[in-house]
Every structure is written in C-alpha cells, then in structure tokens.
Symmetry: C2
Subunit: 233 residues, 2 copies
Amino acid sequence: MLQGEGRRAPLNRDRVLRAAVALADETGIDALSMRNLAERLGVVPMALYKHVANKEELLDGMVEVVVGEIDPPPRGAEWKDAVRQRILSARGTLLRHGWASAVIQSRTHAPPAVLAYMDSLIGTFRAGGFSADLTHHVMHALGIRMWGFTQEVFPTPQPPADPDARAAMFGEFAARYPHIVDMATAVSDDGGMAGGAGCDDQFEFEFALDLLLDGFERLHQGGWTSARSVPSA
Amino acid sequence: MLQGEGRRAPLNRDRVLRAAVALADETGIDALSMRNLAERLGVVPMALYKHVANKEELLDGMVEVVVGEIDPPPRGAEWKDAVRQRILSARGTLLRHGWASAVIQSRTHAPPAVLAYMDSLIGTFRAGGFSADLTHHVMHALGIRMWGFTQEVFPTPQPPADPDARAAMFGEFAARYPHIVDMATAVSDDGGMAGGAGCDDQFEFEFALDLLLDGFERLHQGGWTSARSVPSA
DNA sequence: ACGGTAAGGTGTATGCCGTACACCCGTCAA
DNA sequence: TTGACGGGTGTACGGCATACACCTTACCGT
C-alpha cells in the first residue's frame, strides 16, 4: 500500500495537460515537444502516449484547459456588459497563454470548450432580445475580438452516414449546445451543426467590415479624439 | 554559351520563393519542407540555402510574394470606398493562399511588404481627413479585417545602440513608410518605429470592441434584419 | 592562354522530432 | 494461484532543418 519514498504519483491525463500548458507558458509553444514534456514529468517520452493519443490530442486538451479558465458569464448583467466582460476575460486568458490563440486557430475541429463558450455568448445575446438572425451575424463580427484572431469558422464535421447514429449525435449536440443549434436552425434549414454550415463567409466579412467603417465615419464626423473615453455615437 | 539540352536554368531567390508559394498552395503549409521544395525544383535540399538563409527567411519571402499580390490603392476614390476595396482585395489574396495568415502571424518582425501595405492604408485615411489620432485607433480596430486575424501589433525592433546607425535607420524607415512615422510621432513622442511603440493594447482592444458593441446595439434597436443589405445606421 | 575567384550545386552527417512496437512490472479480480 | 490489464520502458525508424566540406562551372584580369 504505502511504498518507498521514491515512487512518483502515477500520471493521468489531467496532470499531463496541465504540465504541457505550464511548459508552453514558460518556454513557448515551439519548445513544447513530447520529449521535453516527458522530461519535465520525470518520465520517458512514450509514457505520455498512455494518456494522450498523440500530439494533436495533447494540443486539443491544452486548449480545453485554457478555455476553461475564461470566467463564466456574469449573472444578471445587461447583455452589453455581459458580453463585454466575458470577452475581456477571454482576452486576458489568451494573453496569459500567448501560444493559445495560434493553437486554437490550428485545430481542425472546434474544441468542445470553444463551442460551449460560443454557445453561452449566443445565449447572452438572445436573452438580450437579439433575433437569431442578428445574433448570427454579430457572432461572426465578434469572432476576432473573442479570440484575438479571426477563425473564419471551424469546418463542419461530416455527420455519420448511418441515420440512427446521426440522429443520436445531433441530439447530443443540441443538448450540449442548445443556443448554437437554435441559432443555426433559425438561420438556415440545413441545420448547420457547427454553427457555421451554410453561411456566406463573404457576407459575414463585409457585414463586420462595414460595421467598423460606419463606426469610423461616425467618429470622424463627430470630431472624435482619444480622450481615453469609451467611443460612442 | 548555349549548353546541352539537359541543363537546368539556375535557381534564384525569386524562383525559390514562387515555387514555395505554389507548393504551399497545393499541399498545405505543413507539407512544405526544404526537402519537398528542393525536390520540386529538381535540386538537392542544401542547394536552397544558397538562396535563402534558412526556413524562416523562406517564409518571410513567401509573405512578401503574397502581400505583393494585393491590389494597389485605387486612385481617386473616396476614403471609405478605397479602404473597403483594398481590404477586400487583401482578403481575396489571403483566401487564395490559405496558409498565409498563419504565416504572417508567426513572423517575429513585421515584413516590409506588410508595413508598406499598412502605410498606404494610413495614407488613405489621412487623405480622407482623419486625424493621426483617430487613424491610429482605426488601424488597430481594422487589424483583423485586413489580415483575417488580429496581430496585436508586431514587436518593435530594438534600434541599434550607435546613434549614427540609429539615425540612418530611422531616416530610411521614414522615407519608406512616411505615413506610419507621421502617425506614430503624432500619437506619441517616443517615435514608435514599427507603428506600435508606446501604445496601449488594452485601450485599442476595448476601442474596437466597443465600436462593434455600439454598432450591434444600433442595429438591434433599429430592428435590423439580414435583407442582404449593407448594414448602416 | 591561364590562374584565381566565386557562385551554384552536391554529399554526408548531426541532432532534433513524433511515434510504432515489443516488452516488463505491479496490482487486483477470479 | 493465475492471468489480465494499466502504466511505464527501450529501442528503432523515418522525417526534419541545417552545418560543413567539397566539387563544378563561368568568368575575370593578366
């Protein structure tokens, strides 16, 4: 039961992920190798593969850890404040882990924690009275500000061929990310799973661009100057 | 002079860069290795090092090539149209080379072509009557939309210690990127070389965020719906 | 015509990387 | 007691960027 003092507590997935995040924070994402990580954990490189399938999955897990650090949505706040606070919290988190936005961007499928974050942001807009339509475009326009980069939209995973399996997966998705599904179905009938199916990227891009340009014009005409005040109409 | 049919035209830096861009376009940036590139050029890997110092410099060069494809600023257009056109052209270019925004983002110093592009955009705003101050914030807010990602600002290169060398470098920079220098000096007296020195990232972030949030609010209150029209107040 | 120089290309080798595969050991259930 | 299994090991392979020494060719001033 008790064993000699020299025995290391056994690894587990969580300890591996946290060590990886710490190592990336300290030495940069380029210096994060399976070998370096193993060394820091006092273990041989191959031991890590008992806890993560491969390096991609390690990165996936690190993203989950980091995104999990973003503050939960403030309860009882007005939509604008709630969104603002949440996004600034996300920004703070990504600044603490400088490598994270590049890694998130490099994921080939949307990490669940990211979907959960977007789902709750959508919920905030909807609770504030935004239509599903407007919420949709607004989420695109915010993409950048949420993550410090523009994800033009994660690729939609192709659903399984078997109809039963597909229905099951869809059901699970809807249970987990109700607002995403709500918004997606309201926007287009093809039921975009990842919240991005069937939408027109070019339109979304121009929507956000014009929103900014119009804002610039308004500030310009109003003779705006940076008195370190919040810009407003 | 003329030589046997079997002789390959000698490589040069430009042919290497163009081949690299083409290879990245076709097979993705991950599959772009010095070895693959050399093979495509019918040459041994080490031959490439006669034309680029190392892989980082290869990537720098590829960025220059791609950014060079962005349309020049339209002459005689009103600022808003000019900016809009230019940014949509940049977007098109980056969509054609899907790897490019990640690579630009990964550069440790601002590529000259990027500075030139920003310089001319700044010039467009200034010609449209924008103050240096407003132009500065507006450029930050646009960061994203220009490149498909947010570059929080390229790190400012540290100037050489020798005063003469520093003055010379500053002069060259000012000659090449007049609008950047103009704006930077107007904004802060410490003469931010790369256009980013001495500015408050957090303020810039919130500036852009609030601009968007205010825009959302306006659309929301106006009962906006996506009739595929350009959003406006 | 000749030797020198240098630019362009080659070949070999080193030290990283991710990870496949066979193995070994301790724990615990049957 | 046995046997399966979870966690850790050791070895090995192929791919990567790239250092270094070398060779070939073209062109230069003499």
